[in-house]
């Protein structure tokens, strides 16, 4: 068994190479993740968001005398799964402790958490950097705990309202080592962490709904100093962008304080998104004394190594691994491959397409362009659209063999999202096939030439610039169906070679 007390963190020394930089910034992050189990962590109440206030509570949630919390097996399983994905060791001895404090959102006056024997410890996350290097961010620990209720402040009635539905929502708190050296690195880490968690399918990871929350610890120290400076804790950031903004603000604030000869006070600061600044919430003097002690209501736990191995084997391919493989296997660049990997569904869709067609770059362009555009603008997920890998590849083939111009192919794509008809049927029904037969095209060019005397004269005088304009006119006349390459050829032959 491994004792991993809260608050023992070792720091790496890392020098910033920015010119004239007097201070290094040291950042550690704490992420609270709501796990998407069916029921709550210690009782059978439903674990879902948005129900009527106080309609998903029971004596365990309300901390009534005589109630007994019993651990949801799935919560421990998810915690192990996440721990393994974050390269953590899984403790051979797991126990729960009471974290004591008084607040109206906590009916028992203690939160069931883990103090010195968390489920996971000593892991790391590899974060690809823009400079194509990889940053290794240490994970100190990840422990299971229960969420508290929700407080709504009612100014009109000068009171606060408590909704206990959220009490007992399973949480995993993931704590990094103070390894991050800039707001950007913190942001990049969060992106990778979220993506990894999405691949594991263990949480909604929705910061707006509060299913993923992030607090940050930040301090500065003179370049070359190895001892950590006095840190402040930042709370209340409701997006990754807000985390980055809050850290940048705090980095500057601390630097200014120290440069002016002042000292940093250990405190908790609240980020105000509207004002883009943080304000003091509580100082160390008022800091909590949680008086942790083992919770006698819950037994210790031990996860069999065979179960750990079983979970390890069930892990999906994780984003960074998938990224590396997709780059290698399909010859895509960093950027293209990253777009595909940014969602497990998109990556799977791409690989299905790649089984049917070998122009991988083109498939990738269609997915990262048209497909992702539609998903984003319609605020849908891939599963809501009617396009299948087979139909997308059919469409790509029609565009590649010249049956469809690229422009029209995009129209066909939009139709294909809304019907189950085959690509051929859509093309036929809408009369969208590209016109390539020369008789028709010659006729169109005839019309274009007589209607655009000035442009034709200019070309005959040696200035080929208006050629593109004439091709455009032909496309317009045919609603984009004419084969632009052939139109260009005919125009050249008729005007220049004549």
């Amino acid at each position: 068994m491994n004792r991993v007390p809260i608050g023992t963190k070792s720091g790496l020394v890392y020098k910033m190479t920015i010119e004239n930089k007097q201070f290094d910034t040291v950042i550690g992050l704490e992420v609270h993740l709501q796990l998407k189990t069916q029921s709550k962590i210690f009782c059978g109440c439903a674990n879902n968001f948005g129900a009527e206030a106080n309609s998903q509570v029971c004596p365990v949630c309300l901390g009534l005398p005589g109630s007994l919390p019993v651990l949801n097996k799935k919560v421990l399983e998810y915690a192990v799964k996440i721990g393994l994905a974050l390269n953590c060791k899984i403790n051979s001895y797991i126990k729960f402790d009471r974290k004591n404090y008084y607040y109206p959102d906590l009916p028992k006056a203690y939160q069931i958490s883990q103090y010195d024997f968390p489920v996971c410890y000593q892991g790391f996350v590899l974060v690809p950097q823009e400079s194509s290097t990889v940053k290794k961010v240490g994970i100190t620990r990840a422990h299971i705990e229960e969420d508290a209720g929700k407080l709504i402040h009612d100014n009109e009635n000068n009171c606060s309202l408590v909704d206990y539905n959220r009490t007992g929502t399973p949480l995993l708190e993931i704590v990094t080592e103070p390894d991050l050296r800039s707001a950007q690195e913190a942001y990049d880490y969060l992106q990778i962490l979220k993506l990894t968690l999405q691949y594991l399918d263990v949480s909604d990871c929705d910061m707006e709904k509060g299913s993923l929350r992030c607090d940050a610890n930040i301090s500065i120290r003179p370049v070359g100093e190895t001892k950590l400076g006095v840190k402040t804790e930042l709370k209340n950031m409701n997006s990754f962008r807000a985390v980055k903004a809050a850290l940048t603000f705090e980095e500057n604030r601390q630097t200014q304080v120290v440069k002016a000869g002042g000292k940093i006070t250990q405190e908790t600061r609240l980020w105000d998104e509207a004002k883009q600044m943080s304000i003091t919430m509580r100082s160390k003097e008022e800091a909590h004394d949680y008086r942790y002690f083992p919770d006698p209501d819950l037994t210790p736990f031990q996860v069999d190594s065979s179960v750990i191995e079983q979970i390890r084997k069930s892990l999906p391919e994780l984003p960074v691994d998938k990224w590396e493989r997709i780059k290698k296997e399909y010859g895509l660049n960093d950027y293209d491959a990253w777009i595909l990997v940014s969602s497990p569904e998109i990556a799977a869709f791409f690989e299905e397409c790649a089984k049917l067609h070998t122009n991988y770059k083109n498939i990738c362009n269609w997915i990262s362009g048209s497909l992702m555009q539609e998903i984003n603008s319609r605020k849908l997920s891939l599963g809501d659209l009617r396009i299948t890998p087979r139909r997308l590849v059919e469409l790509i083939l029609k565009a590649e063999d010249g049956t469809l111009s690229n422009l029209v192919a995009k129209d066909v794509f939009r139709y294909a999202l809304e019907t189950d008809k085959s690509i051929d049927e859509i093309i036929q029904e809408k009369g969208l096939a590209q016109v390539s037969d020369s008789v028709t095209l010659e006729k169109i060019v005839d019309e274009i030439i007589t209607q655009n005397e000035n442009a034709v004269r200019q070309i005959k005088n040696g200035d080929e610039k208006p050629l593109g304009f004439l091709v455009g006119q032909a496309m317009k006349k045919t609603q984009g169906k004419a084969n632009p390459k052939k139109i260009g050829e005919i125009l050249k032959r008729r005007i220049i070679d004549a």
């Binding site: 439903a46 509570v57 097996k73 408590v162 037994t299 736990f301």
Partner: protein, 94 residues
């Protein structure tokens, strides 16, 4: 040595208000208790396996199954005051 200040701090953590008259005897009591703990700490427990639970059991789980909850009405029966389907408490803004 335990001081009256320690007792008042412990009381404040538990939201208990103690007058000076109450704090004085409690300080003495707590002092005695800690003396006893000191005695316990002198025992040789180097050969005793540490434990965090009184019973030699482990891995008591429940399956991830939803059971019905209390109704909002039932849940709010114990509320001292209620408003809009919620427990009403004095305004708390940290």
């Amino acid at each position: 040595m335990i001081s009256e200040k320690d007792v008042k701090y412990a009381a404040s953590l538990s939201r208990i208000h103690l007058s000076d008259e109450e704090a004085k005897p409690l300080t003495k009591d707590l002092e005695k208790i800690l003396h006893y703990v000191e005695k316990l700490q002198k025992l040789d427990v180097s050969k005793v396996e540490p434990t965090s639970h009184v019973l030699p059991i482990k891995n008591v789980y429940r399956e991830d199954k939803v059971r019905s909850s209390l109704s909002q009405e039932e849940a709010l029966k114990i509320a001292v005051e209620k408003i809009k389907g919620s427990y009403k408490v004095p305004k708390v803004i940290e």
